[in-house]
Symmetry: D2
Subunit: 278 residues, 4 copies
Amino acid sequence: MEKKILLTDCPDDKGLIAKITNICYKHQLNIIKNDEFVDRVEGRFFMRTALEGIFNDATFLEDLDMALPQGAERRLVSAERKRLVLMVTREPHCLGDILMKCYSGAMDVEIAAVIGNHPDLGGLVEKFDIPYHCVSAQGLERFEHEQKVATLVDKYTPDYLVLAKYMRVLTSDFVARYSGRIINIHHSFLPAFIGAKPYQQAYERGVKIIGATAHFVTDDLDEGPIIEQDVIHVDHAYSAESMADAGRDVEKLVLTRALQLVLQERVFIHGNKTVVFK
Amino acid sequence: MEKKILLTDCPDDKGLIAKITNICYKHQLNIIKNDEFVDRVEGRFFMRTALEGIFNDATFLEDLDMALPQGAERRLVSAERKRLVLMVTREPHCLGDILMKCYSGAMDVEIAAVIGNHPDLGGLVEKFDIPYHCVSAQGLERFEHEQKVATLVDKYTPDYLVLAKYMRVLTSDFVARYSGRIINIHHSFLPAFIGAKPYQQAYERGVKIIGATAHFVTDDLDEGPIIEQDVIHVDHAYSAESMADAGRDVEKLVLTRALQLVLQERVFIHGNKTVVFK
Amino acid sequence: MEKKILLTDCPDDKGLIAKITNICYKHQLNIIKNDEFVDRVEGRFFMRTALEGIFNDATFLEDLDMALPQGAERRLVSAERKRLVLMVTREPHCLGDILMKCYSGAMDVEIAAVIGNHPDLGGLVEKFDIPYHCVSAQGLERFEHEQKVATLVDKYTPDYLVLAKYMRVLTSDFVARYSGRIINIHHSFLPAFIGAKPYQQAYERGVKIIGATAHFVTDDLDEGPIIEQDVIHVDHAYSAESMADAGRDVEKLVLTRALQLVLQERVFIHGNKTVVFK
Amino acid sequence: MEKKILLTDCPDDKGLIAKITNICYKHQLNIIKNDEFVDRVEGRFFMRTALEGIFNDATFLEDLDMALPQGAERRLVSAERKRLVLMVTREPHCLGDILMKCYSGAMDVEIAAVIGNHPDLGGLVEKFDIPYHCVSAQGLERFEHEQKVATLVDKYTPDYLVLAKYMRVLTSDFVARYSGRIINIHHSFLPAFIGAKPYQQAYERGVKIIGATAHFVTDDLDEGPIIEQDVIHVDHAYSAESMADAGRDVEKLVLTRALQLVLQERVFIHGNKTVVFK
C-alpha cells in the first residue's frame, strides 16, 4: 500500500468532486482525506486528495485527464521527502529551529545545504553535518553574487529554497529561476511594514501587535502569496530591539508552520494568494 | 434554486465520497462545499455536503439509502431558520450578545422565548419584543420546577435549548427529553474546574489562563461533547471577581460561535465528542 | 475613604518615583496600584498611581508641583463616571456591545447620546432610553454637517466621543475641537489597509489574519495613537463579506477594551503613540 | 555603573513604595523599572525594582532592613548569568530550543550540564559542547537513582534544575533538596489532565484546545506554582499523536518563556501561586 496526494487545480465545473472521487474509487484508491475549495469569483476549483492503495499512475492520470475540464492542472505526488536549500544571513533562530526539527524528525525533509552571505552561521550548520557555503556579496555586482548562489543551489536540485532570514533582496532573474519555489519569512504582519526594518517601523508607529509572514517570493518585494501569518502582543515598553527579540519566536513558528504546509502539499498558489488546506 | 445540507454519519466504507457525490451529480445538485472526516479508530465516516439545485428529496434520499452502508444516518436539511429557547439566570452578557446578534441579523435564528429562574433579565428581553417567562424554583422540588420549564419550552417547539448562563444543574429526565439539543456555556476551559465556581477555583489554583467551553449537555455534569473552547490570559493581579469580569467576553464569544456552528449544521455529535466542520 | 488616580507625565528625572510616592505617603494616601514607564529615547516619565484615602487636592497638588520638574503635567482624577457621546452610521455591533455593557454594568459609563448620520440605529438606541439624533449629511457641505453634529455634541459635554463605526472622515477642525478625546475603531490591524474598505483590501491581498485597531483620532486619517489591537485568523475560503462578518466580534472587543482602558485612566497619549498601563 | 535587581516580598504596610524608593534615591540608585503587587487577600506586598548605579550592598540593605516590616524577605541580585542543569528523557524539542537559544545568545544563561535517564539525547547535547550524563534508572530503586542524579547535579551547583520533558516523577526528598528551584514543563493546560499521558486524555475528552504549563515542582504532582501557560486550537481530526506533535511547539515556547522570566528575576513564589512581573 502506497500513499500519494492528488492535487487538482482547474476551472470550476459541475460534478468535479464526483468525477475525481469516482476515478479514485474505480482504481481502488482509498481516500484518506479530501479537501476542496471553489473560488467563485474566479471560477476556479482546487482539491487535495490524500490517497492510499496500489497506484498505476499512468492509467489513473489518463482517466483523470479525460474527466477534467480544459486548463486543468493535476499532480499526483508521492509522499517522498522533499529537499531544501536554506539561505541565511546572520540570524540563527529560524535556521536553528529548522535544523532542530529535522534532527528530531519533527520535520520530515532533507536539508541539502545552507548558503549564507556571511560566515557567521557556518559553525551551527556544520554541527548538524550539513554543508554550509558562504558566498559573500562583497565586491560583487548583485547579478554576479546571485549567479554564484544559483550555481550552488542548482548543484543540490532542491524542491524549495527557504529564505530563513536572508537579508538581501533578490532580483527578478533569480526569482524567475525558482518561480513558486522560494519561501521567505518577513518579520511583520504584511502588508504592514513592507521593506526594511519592520520592527523599527512598528516601534515608530506604536503598534500593539507585531507579527511575521511566510510567503512565496515574487518579483514584487514583500507582495508574494502569503502562506501563513501570526502575531504577538506588545506594548509601549518595547523598544525596536526588544520587539525584534520577542518577534523571533513568532518568526520561527510561522516559517516552520508554512514549510510544513508546503512540504505536505497543502498549499496551492492561486494568483497572488494561496489556497491552504490545513 | 434551493440550498440544502446533506449530513451523512455512517460506518466507514470504500468509495463513500464517490458514491454520495455521484448521487448529487446525478440529481444535478451542485456541491457548494464538501467536508468529510473519517474516525479511523472507531471506523466512522462523517460528511457535510452543502448543495444547491432543485431537490426531489424523496428520490434523492432513496438513492442515498441504497448506496450507504447499514447503520447510516443521513439528513437533508433545508437552510430555514432554526428556533431557540434560551434559559438564563441573572447574568446578561451571553443573553445580550445573542439578542443583539439576532437583532442585527448577524445570527440568523428565531429566539422563540427566554425562560429565567429569576425575574432580573425580563426587562432586557422585552426590549427586543421576545417573551420572557420567569419560572422561579423557590419552594419547588427540582422535578416540579423542571416540569414547569419543560411545559413552557414545549409550547415553543424549539430546535435547541441554549443555557446562556443558566446556573442550575438539570436532571437526567430533563436532559433526556431534549437529548442532543441542549447547549451550555461553562465558564472554564473544561475539563479544568468542573462544577461550581470555576473562577474561584482558577483563582485559588493560580492559573495564567482562564476560558470558556460550549458543549452539549448530557447526564454527566460538564462532561458533554465539547463544541468550542477559547481562553484568555490572566495574571496574579486578577481576583476571582476580575477573572469573572474578564471571562465574560470569552464566554459570550465561545457560546455564540458554538451556536453559529450548530445552527449552520456544522456539528456532529460523535459519542462524547463532536466533529465540527468550520 | 475616597479613591483617586494621579497621572504624572513629565521629563524624566532622578528620584521621581520616590518623590511622588513620598508625597502620597506624607498625605496618608494609600497606593493601591502604581505603574510607571520611562521612555528613554524621549526622556519622558509616565506614572499612574491609584490612591485611596482622604484627599486635600489643593495641598497635595501643591506639594507635587514643588517636586516635579518643569514641563510636568499631572492630573488627579476622581473615579466618577465619565460621559460619552457615540457616533454611528449603520452597523450596530459596536454600538450594541457598548449599550449592552453599560446596561449590565460591565462598563461603568454614561452614554449621554448617540448621533448617527442615518436613521437606522435609532430604534436600537431608544430601547435603552438613550437619546438618538440623526444628523443626515445629505445636501450639506462637510463643515455644515460637522457644525450641526458639534452643536449637538457640545450640548452633552461628553468626556469622550466614540466613533462606533462612524463611516465618515472628520475634518481637521472637528478633530481639533475634541483633541485627544475622539476614539475610533478601524477595521484592520493598522497600519495595514489604511483608508476605505479594509476587508476588501485584505481579501485582495490574501492575508491570513484580519484585525481591528482602536485609536485616538488625529488629523492624519488612520494615523492616530493606537490604544488597542487584535486579530483573528482567516483563510482562503473567506470572501470580503465573510471577513467583515468574522471581523465584527474582534472590532467590538477591541473597541470596548480600548474604551475601558481610557475610562479607567490607563492611557497616556505620547506623541503619536500611547502608554497603556493594563 | 552596575545593574542590580531588588526583590521585596513582605507583609503589606503603609508607605512601602515610598520607603523603598526613597532608600534607592538616597543611595543615588536610578530606578529603571519598578513593579509592585499587593495581594489584598493575604496582605502581602511584592516589588521588583530594577536599579542602576554604584552599589554599596551592605549599607543599602541595612537601610532597607530598618524600613521594612518584620517578616520581610528582600534580595539584591546582580545581573550575572545563572547556571542551569537540564534533565531530560527522550524528547529533544524543549532541550533543543533551550540549547539553540543559549547558543544564539537569545537566552543568557549557562547550561552547566544535561542529565538524561536514557542515552538518546547525548549526541545532540554534545554538538553544543555541553556535558551529557546518562543516569539510567534501570535496576535501581527510585531513591538510588535520584541519589546518583543529585550527586551529579550538586557537582554543577546550578541555580535551577529544568525538567525539559523529564518523564519521571520525583520523590519528596529530591524536590525538597532543590526547593523552589525545579522548573517543569507539563504538556497540558493544568489543572486539566493531571498525571500521565495528557494528550491521550485530551483526545479522549474531545477538547478543542491543548496546551502546556511551566511550573515549579512541589511535592504534589502537577500541583506546583504555575509560571506560564499557553494553548493552541485543535479539532476532531487530531489523534493523540498529532496532538502531541502539534503540542511540541507550545511546550517549548511556554518552557523558554517561563525560564526567561525566572532568569530575569521576574517570578516570586507566593504559596502555591506565582507573582510574575512581565
